[in-house]
């Protein structure tokens, strides 16, 4: 039985489409007409050995909300895998799960040492908006984009947990 599945993968602001099928116990993946044989073995709950066209790799994959965290070597990042048809329908209906939430959250627990900007300010990408003290260092929390600040959710002297909302953008 050859079941072919088409998926859409969102990773680092890029979108890919793949066709996957399993035939006679063999896994195949196709993109843009290029077809590859894949041998995939799960080593343990979060580690996989992948041999694709003879090239050998090790990946880590863990659930992360609705998507995954994929890891290779010492790098990792979020990735979403969705049924292609479903993704198309959602897009047509105006549902965008992938919309980048324009917020900055605390990357680790710490103390707010300085708030450099306020609501209504226009900021540049890379500008230090908030300064947090954590792990014996002062850390600049930088703006990931150029934009207008909607709200600053913290004040100097406040102690925050990892993930705490710091800045909201328009």
């Amino acid at each position: 039985m050859v079941a072919m599945k088409k998926v859409q993968v969102d990773i680092q602001d890029k979108t890919f489409q793949f066709e996957l099928r399993q035939a006679d116990g063999k896994l195949r993946i196709r993109r843009n007409g290029d077809d590859h044989a894949a041998d995939l073995v799960r080593l343990r709950s979060n580690r996989y050995s992948l041999i694709i066209d003879g090239r050998s790799y090790e990946f880590g994959l863990e659930h992360d909300g609705d998507g995954y965290m994929i890891s290779s070597g010492s790098r990792s990042g979020t990735v979403r895998v969705e049924d292609y048809e479903l993704a198309r329908i959602k897009k047509a209906a105006g549902i965008d799960d992938n919309i980048r939430v324009k917020n900055i959250t605390a990357p680790m627990p710490g103390l707010i040492v300085r708030v450099n900007r306020q609501a209504g300010d226009d900021v540049k990408k890379g500008e230090a908006l908030v300064v947090m003290e954590a792990m014996k260092m002062e850390n600049d929390i930088k703006s990931p984009l150029a934009g207008k600040i909607k709200a600053i959710n913290v004040s100097t002297g406040e102690s925050v947990e990892k993930g705490h909302l710091l800045v909201e953008f328009e």
Binding site: A3, K5, V7, V9, I11, Q12, K14, F16, F18, L20, Q22, L27, I29, R31, H36, A38, L40, R42, L43, R44, S45, N46, R47, Y48, L50, I52, Y57, E58, F59, G60, L61, E62, H63, Y68, I70, S71, S72, G73, S74, R75, S76, G77, V79, V81, E82, D83, L86, P107, M108, P109, A134, M135, K136, M137, E138, N139, D140, I141, K142, K162
Partner: protein, 506 residues
């Protein structure tokens, strides 16, 4: 001579493990201490004995003098090794050890106090005949004093804390207009970091190299130097990559700098392992900066090129033995590089990354050494500094050392926490680094846009996308097969994954 059969290690993480290893080699019992979050830390399991300090933050545990002394006394340790950071350069603690008849593995409290004060250290260096960076003789308590000194020295200048280093209380000032604001923030930072708001002013050099000399001194008036370490690759004045030998230090310069380091060791009555730091300008003139009265993080670099175990030498000196090494016997072979592996999100600006090491595998093989405090499954605690491990490679020459470092960094597998590994791989591939044209401005100059420098290639991204698609597909097929029906996108294979994970033994 005092017999040392048990050492209490007043530290944690990789340096505690390092000291445990030296104890094992020397046939000495090792006693570890741990805070509550560190109960499950690797250094606790690595040591022969372990004693609780209770509580959570460093200030409540590793930094509490009485707790450390009590642990040493109750387990019968004759000596305490303070590692680096924490109490290593705390003369009050060293004095408390002495009062309690416990050997503090390091210099005497008086020498720690003397050299720990940057201004006193400079006065000692002058007495020992060392060349110095132009600086204010005293701390600058007010803006008028600061202005006068800055004018005398000439801009650009550096405001530095008198009581400590690591970049805290440090500000570069390019013109008189910026002086007042910089003075205020520097003093405030110094106060919170060291409990001492004194700052002084020093000449700021353009593109200097930071080169330091390792010294060993015994209680019999003997001192030797073990060559240099080049530590110019820094961020926020914290070292990231170190190496030995330095590309610009020839035998003659090494001998001069080494002699200067030995001179200040003897002048100050130094005992133990220490490091004398110098700034080297573009004309290869060197200037005394400071003395670090402790074993340093980057000590393995020297160990790899000299073949000498510095911690074992510390033990011997602490026992009152005469230095077995003579200057002429200390030879250098090959080239060593160290990359500090910090748990940090580099593209975000070296922001600390905490989390669980869901997968972690250190590299190994020819010329590779890893000093670490973590194993797979450990959590990086938020309470202490983010150093996971030190990766050191050695080669016949710099080229081979770099090539082995590339191999080792590529082999290093970490999942669950961001690290500096991908960044260090970029440095190893950087043309200027390979040519050895280093300076303390290296990181901002070569990596002005960290996020862009660290971007993955299109092929790498596509490969990850493919892997994710394949794993997702295969796992859903498996879940469906187990349930005896076709796969559905809505299937959750999270649970089946966990169950499978429990069955497997790893």
């Amino acid at each position: 001579m005092p017999e040392i059969s048990k050492i209490l290690i007043a530290n944690r993480g990789e340096i505690a493990v390092r000291i445990v290893r030296a104890c094992r080699d020397a046939g000495i019992n090792s006693a570890a201490v741990y805070s509550d979050p560190d109960r499950t830390a690797f250094h606790v399991r690595a040591a022969d004995e372990a004693y609780p300090l209770h509580d959570v933050t460093s200030a409540e545990s590793y930094l509490v003098h009485e707790k450390i002394i009590d642990a040493a006394k109750s387990c019968g340790a004759q000596a305490i090794h303070p590692g680096y950071g924490f109490l290593a350069e705390n003369h009050v603690f060293a004095d408390l050890c002495r009062e309690n008849d416990i050997i503090f593995i390091g210099p005497t409290p008086e020498v720690i106090n003397l050299l720990g004060d940057k201004l006193e250290a400079r006065r000692t260096a002058i007495k020992a005949g060392l060349p110095l960076t132009p600086a204010s003789e005293h701390d600058v308590a007010d803006i008028d004093r600061a202005r006068a000194e800055a004018e005398k020295i000439g801009y650009p200048i550096l405001i530095k804390a008198a009581a400590g280093g690591g970049g805290k209380g440090m500000r570069i000032v390019h013109s008189a207009d910026d002086l007042e604001a910089a003075l205020i923030t520097a003093a405030s930072e110094a106060s919170s970091a060291f409990g001492d708001r004194r700052v002084y002013i020093e000449k700021y050099f353009d593109r200097p190299r930071h080169i330091e000399i390792q010294i060993l001194a015994d209680t019999h008036g003997n001192a030797v130097h073990m060559g240099e370490r080049e530590c110019s690759i820094q961020r926020r004045h914290q070292k990231v990559i170190e190496e030995s030998p330095s590309a610009v230090v020839d035998d003659k310069l090494r001998a001069h700098m080494g002699e200067a380091a030995v001179a200040i060791a003897l002048e100050s009555g130094y005992v133990g392992a220490g490091t004398v730091e110098f700034l080297v300008d573009q004309e290869l003139k060197f200037y005394f900066l400071e003395v670090n009265t402790r074993l340093q993080v980057e000590h393995p670099v020297t160990e790899m090129v000299t073949g000498i175990d510095l911690v074992i030498e510390q033990f011997k000196i602490a026992r009152g033995e005469k230095l077995s090494l003579k200057q002429k016997d200390i030879a250098h072979r090959g080239h060593a590089i160290e990359c500090r592996i910090y748990a940090e999100d580099v593209p975000a600006g070296f922001v600390p990354s905490t989390g669980h090491l869901s997968a972690y595998r250190e590299p190994a093989g020819p010329g590779v050494r890893v000093d670490s405090g973590f194993v797979a499954g450990d959590t990086i605690p938020v309470y202490y500094d983010p150093l996971i491990a030190k990766l050191i490679t050695w080669g016949d020459d710099r080229r081979q050392s770099i090539s082995r470092m590339r191999r080792a960094l590529t082999e290093y597998a970490v999942q669950g926490v961001d690290t500096t590994i991908p960044f260090e791989l970029k440095v190893m591939a950087n043309e200027r680094f390979v040519e050895g044209k280093l300076s303390t401005h290296f990181i901002p100059e070569e990596f002005p846009d960290l996020a862009a420098s660290m971007a993955q290639t299109d092929d790498e991204v596509e490969l990850s996308a493919m892997a994710a698609a394949l794993i997702d597909f295969q796992q859903r097929e498996k879940t469906a097969a187990a349930a005896g029906r076709p796969a559905r996108q809505a299937d959750s294979w999270k649970l089946s994954g966990r169950l499978e994970g429990l069955r497997k033994v790893w």
